[in-house]
């Protein structure tokens, strides 16, 4: 069975309905409440993370949350983890680079359940960490976000 746009929308609509039913609008969508911070801590081992120095290329408005093109890059990065702060689970993908890598950047296509911040955390070759976040508006499959 293919993951269709309609299925995705139905899933989100269900979540909205649930939220409305229990009278706590947005309870299903509390920002950064899906374990994003825990995922960052797991990646960094609790080390301090500098803001900036990581490039995230993403559309400002994604019409279809089922496939959002995204590109991340950071100079001297050994690994870059992408997180979606508004998805049911924060993890998206972790890229690992090697001395054979060319530019320390990579791109893929991801799923975003709704309008949210996409976060990229890079582990640099010197062992330090850097991160950046970028808001992406999701229209279809995004519960009207």
């Amino acid at each position: 069975m293919e993951w269709t746009r309609r299925d995705f929308g139905a899933l989100c609509a269900g979540a909205v309905a649930t939220a409305a039913l229990v009278g706590r609008p947005g309870f299903a969508f509390a920002a950064d409440d899906n374990g994003t911070q825990a995922a960052i801590d797991a990646f960094t081992g609790g080390a301090p993370v500098a803001e900036g120095g990581v490039d995230i290329g993403a559309p400002e408005i994604a019409e279809n949350g089922n496939t959002v093109p995204i590109e991340v890059g950071a100079e001297n990065a050994a690994a870059i983890m992408i997180l979606a702060s508004g998805n049911p689970n924060p993890g998206v993908v972790t890229f690992e680079f090697t001395p054979l890598s060319g530019a320390r950047s990579a791109s893929t296509r991801i799923r975003l359940a709704k309008t949210q911040d996409v976060i990229a955390v890079a582990r640099l070759e010197d062992g330090s960490f850097a991160m950046a976040r970028r808001p992406v508006k999701v229209t279809i499959g995004g519960c009207g976000g």
Partner: protein, 109 residues
């Protein structure tokens, strides 16, 4: 598994030291484990490509650890500094243990 087909775009030849872009795509539904069957209401079990690796003559080039939030038919683009002629090997690891693989040779330019 039906119709899982990996595809990779790599230049046929490259000079030593040249940085090339590698584009990879594998047709795969990437079932997230979040969806429910609309008829039975049962959760459809997760089945995704969870790891992608690229190696050149046995040396690691690039690796991606993939979660269900990567879109269906996962597309990954990355770059590589070509040390010389040789063979690139790509592997996609499915949740069910299947390994899909593909090899591409790069000739000296």
């Amino acid at each position: 598994m039906s119709n899982v087909k990996p595809r990779v775009k790599v230049p046929k030849s490259a000079a030593a030291g040249e940085v090339i872009t590698i584009k990879t795509l594998i047709s795969h539904p990437m079932e997230s484990g979040q969806r429910k069957d609309s008829k039975t209401g049962e959760v459809i079990p997760r089945k995704i490509i969870n790891t992608f690796t690229a190696t050149f003559e046995g040396e690691p080039v690039f690796k991606a650890k993939i979660e269900p939030a990567v879109a269906a038919n996962p597309y990954i683009e990355f770059s590589m500094k070509v040390p010389g002629p040789g063979t690139l090997r790509f592997e996609w690891l499915d949740d069910d243990g299947t390994i899909y693989d593909l090899e591409k040779s790069i000739a000296a330019a």
